[in-house]
Symmetry: C2
Subunit: 292 residues, 2 copies
């Protein structure tokens, strides 16, 4: 395994352990609700957002114990959004991370409630994190909530754009909200907990914004080129849903070129940080080159 | 108007003004999402939970400016839960507070997202309330989140109980979670912001628990005896859904008697508070006697 693969694996292990502690046991009533939450949380996700919290946090000198609870809370918010996005009224997806989506495994009502309670627990978790000062906790809740609200707005815009011709600017607005905001706040969270300066925080935000864009372009590329088996989720669904994507707007070759250019921009941003940023650079490389 | 009616009217005006400031304008993109949120938030609700925050807060000496933002946040959580509970996959209700429910007026996806973003905004709102210390803010977020999680668990239990024979104990567990927890934390919030002592807080919790139970019994009585026109929501739906209620378990006369006994218990609790508790007593009277 590469250094980055080891880093991701260690992050995933830490976060899974933390989530297991934070989430009610599936023997707690109502057991169906607890099982539905755990079904979706422990579905083998990449834990990319928590890894970004750790990577940025460690770059600026934060201790793992100060990062891991907020990182777990961010993963809860991410998972709640996946559960709700998969619902029949939204993307109507039956497969996620290689297995049945929450509403298919359980039922729609349980999936809606599982998403709801995961969001609740995310904010409770941060509010109760005694490793951090109360001042930092309210700041994190405020920033993460702002991004979670953007994520919801982005999903709404995305749904409304289905079957319509939209501009590149519209597509960017959708993704900056839908996926960019939570990726960006994951990076910012690491820097905030580490006590980074305002200038550093600005650079981290720019890095994360570029990284989020890169993530989305490669997501669109993978949806258009990979099989469901490889992705662990339904492939080719963007085209069937007549969804505007970087691939549908630019075509495959230009979308690939765009990804390469955004990757360069992401790495440029890192040069402004006067710290050892090798790990953050490797993450950008990984996103560019990922095959699933 | 009675003193209590004036109090409720003033609370509603304050909260509506506060919510109007806190919620994004319906000219903010995506406008459908903003309109859906405002449709449900400004549907003429009684603002009972905010009124309880104010009543308890003022009883223990808190200033209105310190109470109103958290009170608005609690109303956001209440409204999010109504939007989601009304969805086809849950209670499938088309009428609420005298008009079309959110998913009927807009669509299911928008209603799910409107509920989601209302919950997010509730926690953001408390985190950013500069009238309160950061210590109080994280405490409020923790307590309100715990109650919001219970509310979701209660809805799950309620759905699972439909069409089944359940015991009085099960029914109480459902309601303590589904409605009791948020009513209870509304009262506690007022006391926490006012800086009430631990003993006072305990008494407030007991008062609110009894009040929540009273609220549920009278809710069941109204569903069984009033018309949809009077209630502004679909009447008689409990019976059609074969839902266990205090009326289905005890019959009307015994359910009425139970309400009276719980009312007495609620008022007994107030005698332990060494403050002017006339307003809290009037609220208990109002719940017992309400006609909608």
């Amino acid at each position: 395994m590469s250094r980055l693969e080891i880093f991701f694996a260690e992050c995933a292990e830490t976060i899974d352990g933390q989530l297991d502690v934070l989430l009610p046991s599936d023997e707690t009533e109502p057991t169906n609700l607890r099982a539905a939450v755990r079904w979706s949380v422990f579905a083998g996700g990449k834990r990319f957002r928590p890894a970004l919290v750790f990577a940025v946090g460690k770059t600026f000198g934060a201790a793992e114990k100060d990062l891991k609870i907020t990182a777990a809370a961010i993963e809860m918010i991410h998972t709640y959004s996946l559960i709700h996005d998969d619902l029949p009224a939204m993307d109507d997806d039956r497969l996620r991370r290689g297995r049945a989506t929450c509403h298919v495994k359980f039922d729609e009502a349980t999936a809606i409630l599982a998403g709801d309670v995961l969001q609740t627990l995310a904010f409770q978790t941060i509010a109760e994190d005694e490793n951090l000062s109360e001042k930092i906790r309210v700041r994190l809740i405020s920033e993460i909530a702002q991004s979670a609200a953007k994520m919801v707005a982005g999903q709404q815009l995305d749904l409304e754009a289905e079957g319509r011709v939209i501009s590149v600017e519209d597509l960017e607005t959708i993704h900056q909200n839908k996926t960019g905001a939570m990726i960006s706040v994951s990076a910012r969270t690491g820097a905030i907990i580490a006590g980074a300066s305002a200038t550093e925080l600005k650079t981290v935000s720019n890095y994360a914004a570029q990284l989020g864009l890169l993530f989305q372009i490669t997501d669109d590329l993978l949806d258009a080129t990979q099989t469901s088996e490889v992705l662990g989720k339904t492939a080719g669904k963007d085209e069937r849903a007549e969804k505007a994507t970087y691939v549908s707007l630019y075509g495959l070759p230009k979308a690939r070129k765009l990804a390469e250019n955004v990757h360069i921009g992401t790495c440029e941003e890192l040069k402004k940080i006067r710290r050892e940023t090798g790990l953050l650079r490797e993450i950008a490389d990984f996103i560019l080159e990922r095959q699933k």
